[in-house]
Structures are given as structure tokens and as C-alpha cells.
Subunit: 313 residues, 2 copies
């Protein structure tokens, strides 16, 4: 049985290896990804995003447990914000993996970027594909913050849950305005804290101002206390409600098409740059260009235009 | 006098217009950027990054005031995390601009991305160039969080200050591990809060573990209380110390070369994709590719390779 077939058959060892190869950017991983691609598209992708300290990891744990009770298989991709710089794995990840290690139906992996723009969103999509092809019913993508890379990641999700806590400081208004557009469901976690109702009201007011059209989803707000499992079933109800909403009309296929478009653009962008740079390294023009820019005899805009004209048919 | 010359002459109105044009991606902005490029490279670029609620905006205000007392001219680029989605300006920005509006030596602008990967770091570099060409002695780039786009931005700075506060929650270890590599100076702000010394010790232990070579900069930790201007002069001393460190040997020119290399790569990446997409739109192949991916008769990796082979010489 081929490697791809083993993954499609649900083999954990093969899936883990491919994920490692994706992260290490081993060329053969691309070939395997080509093979599993036709077997993707069945998993429901749930994006959960929130700043550090909002308790979203605890929330994810409860969601996983609830989904397991419904006999659904779950994959979790924890996007590791530390890793543009360090090769180290997410500290808490090993702990979490241990907690679910006896459950064959749960597969948790953290993903790191290798320090180039777009790398994080591309490798995350690839890893989601692996879990999807494995046959996981739900794939949860957990991200921190609202960087552009992470935004691309959550955009690819079917349902995006944005986790907030009461009283996050003076910049919170700006953050909320920014994440409003990506959130299908807003969770105010640590809802026992002072100011929780105020935070709920603020989010609802913002949703109101954003006046959605009749045929679009109107974001909802859910209060939770993840540490004592309060509000989690309400959150799951809302996720199911949004899932039902998406199932109507062309919404799911539109979402899928938008997703593959972005992935093609991401691959094409890197493939073009990679091939052109290889050529420039071979004929020594790359160093020449950098030197002319450093000496300011040329500018980066003109040089990019000239290079594009020189290499494109 | 040409538009570029007006900016080089320090004209605020022209600079503001070019910055607006950069953000609106008006094609003529590129031409002006080409013209001002030879006049860049004199400003000292100071990156200040920290999560929402760390008080970094207040800190930036104090740094601006202190630099103004030394008769230095200052530009501030506040990178707006909200704007991948909204066109709205940073809420606090207008307030801050008003505060310094009577001072001709300070120029504050917020920058927004237009929702594509790398867009934020590219437009920020362009805006830094404008302030640099205007003749600002110091350009402060203020960012939120540690997204990959923001990482590229702070990488371009001469000195990077990472602002933390005591007791940021359970994910703080992971965040700290990630930002360690970009921080030249760590600020523990709100140092009157419980746990401040603990946070300082944790950062110092992490710096220790990262064991730097003799000829590299060893990051330092500074405690501040920005709201009452405490510790700000110590921070400025450290910034000057790092600046002096960079002035030795080839460090400044190495940094500049690394910066122009990244900028060229950024420009080239987008230029190549833009031209290829234009071609694909013209001959209708883009929609064909997306359809084949949505139908899963093709995969994004193979399609990207085929496209690259078809368009490159």
C-alpha cells in the first residue's frame, strides 16, 4: 500500500510522518500531498482564534471532548506563534497530546512556520489536508492573534470562533474591530470576570453596526467559562447552527472554491519566486541586484520590474 | 520642484499625500518611491512591538517626547492590526496625532494592510522610506503582536524593543520564546504590578539559555511605568547603547543589505504573481485552474508547477 493510501486509510504513523516532512519542507512531501489532495474536502474545519491568555486551549480541549462524545473523530492543528524564530515545539502541546494520547480518535499537532511570509498559512493548509484525508470528521485549527498569516488560516475555516476575555486593556477596541469580520461566533471566555456583560454588549453593538445582509450569517456571542466547562455546549450548538447555515444553497461550494483559489495563489507565488531566484543565483544576478540596491544606484521597484520582464515569456 | 524633491525637502503635505497613495496602492506612488529611494538610509529605525494592553503606545509617546527634547525629528508609523478587514483608521491614532499636531518635528501615521500576505510589511517599509527621505532622524515603527508580517517589519528595524507586562496568562511562556529572537531590548512595562520581578527573571533566564556569541548583542531587560514616565530614560540609554553597538564594524551595512534583500524579494514576489495572474485572467486559464481544483481533478501543487513552467522562460 502506498504512503498516501496508508494516510487515507487513517494510519496515524504515516500521517505524523507526512506532517513532519511538510514542516521540514522535504520535497517528497509535496508529492504525497498531490496524492492525498483528491481525498480531501470532507472534514469540517473549525477555526479558533484568540490572544494568549484567553483560555482558548482549554476551550478547544472541551470541544474535543464533546465531539468525541458524539463519536466524531477530531484533528487539532495548533498554530505555534513562537516558531518563526525557534524550532522548539509549543510548550503546552506535549502536555495536551499526552492528555489525549490514549484516544485514537484524536490527533493533535502543532505547526510552525519556517520564517518566510505565507509559510505558516501554507503549511497549515497542508496539515489540515492530511487530517482531512485521514478521515477526521472535524479539524480544529487553533491560532493566536490576528497576524495576516493567521487571518489567511482562519479564512479557510468553515466556522471561525473568536475568543475574547473581559477587560483586555485599552487597545481592545481596535482588536475587536479587526476581528469582527472573521468571527462567525464570538466567545467571551472567563465570563465570571468583572466586565463580561460589558464586553458582550460591546461585541453585539459592533455586530449591529456592521449591519449584515439578510442572506449572510449574523455573528453571535456566547459566554463561557472554559475552566469549569460552562457554556461549552451552548458554543457547540452555535457551531452546529452555523454549520447548518452553510449547508444551504451554494455556500459550502463557494467557500471551498475560495479556499482552493487562495491555495493556488499561495503555491504559485512561492513557485514563481523560487524558480526565478534559482535562476538568478545560477547566473549571479541576485548578488548584483542586492549590491546595486545597497549602494542605492538602483531601487527595489525598478529592479523587480526589470527582473520580471527578463524572466517571463 | 518635483513631488519627490518636496518630500526630500521635508514637506509634510507631500509626504502625507504619498503615504496615502501608498496605502491606496495608487500606481504613481511606486514611481515616487523610486525617486525618493536614493535619499533613504539615514534615519534610525526603532521597532516597538507588544501585545494590546501592554501600554506600548504610551511608551512610544514618552520616547517621542524625549527624542524631541534632544532636538531630534521623529516619524512614527503605527501598524494597524485591525485593517486586514476594515478600512478604518486606528481609533487612538487621531487622538495621538492631535497631541503632537502643534509640533512640526513629529509626524505620526498609521498603516493598514489591504488584506494580502506581505502587504503590511511592504507598505510599512515604503512609509518608513518616506519618513526617512523627509529627513526624520528617528523613525519609530509600532506593531502589535508577533504575526509573520509584523516579524518582517521589526526585522527591518535597527533596534527592536519588545514590550511585555507582568502576568500575561498561561500562554506567555510560548510568546516569550517566540519574541526572544527579535528583541534587542525587553521592556517590562507596568512594573508596579505584581509579578514584575518574576517576569524580568524569566526573560533574563531565557536570554541566558540562548547563549549569545561574543560578537553579538546580548538582549537587555528594562523595567518601566510608562503611565508615569518611569524608566523611560533608562530605556533610551539602552537604545543608544544598542545603536553604538551596531555602529561598530560592518554591522550597520550588513543590516542594510539584509533589509534591501528582503525588500527586493517582497517586490519581486508580488510583481511576478501580478504579471502572471494578469496573463491568466486574459486567456481565461485562471478560472479553469480554480475549477479543476474545486472538482479535485487537479491539485494545487501540480497546477502551480505547470503554470510556472508555462510562463517562465
Amino acid at each position: 500500500m502506498s504512503f498516501a493510501n496508508q494516510i487515507i486509510g487513517g494510519d496515524i504513523r504515516s500521517a505524523a510522518r507526512l506532517i513532519r516532512d511538510i514542516e521540514d519542507e522535504i520535497p517528497s512531501a509535496r508529492e504525497e500531498l498531490k496524492n492525498i489532495y483528491p481525498h480531501t474536502g470532507s472534514a469540517y474545519i473549525l477555526g479558533i482564534t484568540g490572544s494568549p491568555g484567553t483560555g482558548k486551549s482549554t476551550l478547544v480541549d472541551h470541544i474535543v471532548r464533546a465531539l468525541r462524545e458524539e463519536e466524531k473523530t477530531v484533528g487539532v492543528v495548533a498554530v505555534d506563534p513562537t516558531s518563526p524564530f525557534t524550532d522548539g515545539a509549543f510548550l503546552g502541546d506535549r502536555v495536551r497530546m499526552q492528555r489525549h494520547s490514549t484516544d485514537e480518535g484524536v490527533f493533535i499537532r502543532s505547526v510552525a512556520t519556517r520564517g518566510h511570509l505565507g509559510g505558516l498559512s501554507r503549511s497549515t493548509s497542508d496539515i489540515v489536508d492530511v487530517l482531512d484525508a485521514m478521515g477526521k470528521d472535524v479539524v480544529i485549527v487553533e491560532t493566536v492573534g490576528v497576524g495576516q498569516d493567521e487571518v489567511e488560516i482562519v479564512r479557510a475555516a468553515h466556522t471561525t470562533v473568536v475568543v475574547l476575555v473581559p477587560g483586555m486593556g485599552d487597545d481592545v477596541q481596535a482588536i475587536k474591530a479587526g476581528i469582527l469580520e472573521i468571527g462567525d461566533i464570538f466567545v467571551v471566555n472567563k465570563a465570571d470576570r468583572e466586565g463580561a456583560d460589558n464586553t458582550v454588549r460591546e461585541i453585539e453593538a459592533m455586530i449591529e453596526r456592521n449591519s449584515h445582509a439578510d442572506d449572510t450569517w449574523r455573528p453571535v456571542v456566547v459566554k463561557t467559562q472554559a475552566n469549569c466547562n460552562r457554556g461549552v455546549s451552548e458554543l457547540l450548538d452555535m457551531i452546529n447552527k452555523h454549520r447548518f447555515f452553510l449547508s444551504e444553497g451554494h455556500r459550502l461550494s463557494d467557500l471551498f472554491e475560495a479556499r482552493v483559489r487562495e491555495r493556488f495563489l499561495g503555491e504559485l507565488r512561492e513557485m514563481l519566486l523560487k524558480r526565478v531566484l534559482e535562476k538568478m543565483e545560477r547566473n549571479g544576478s541576485f548578488n548584483k541586484v542586492v549590491r546595486s540596491l545597497a549602494e542605492k544606484t538602483e531601487d527595489p521597484y525598478t529592479q523587480a520590474e526589470k527582473t520580471a520582464s527578463a524572466v517571463l515569456k
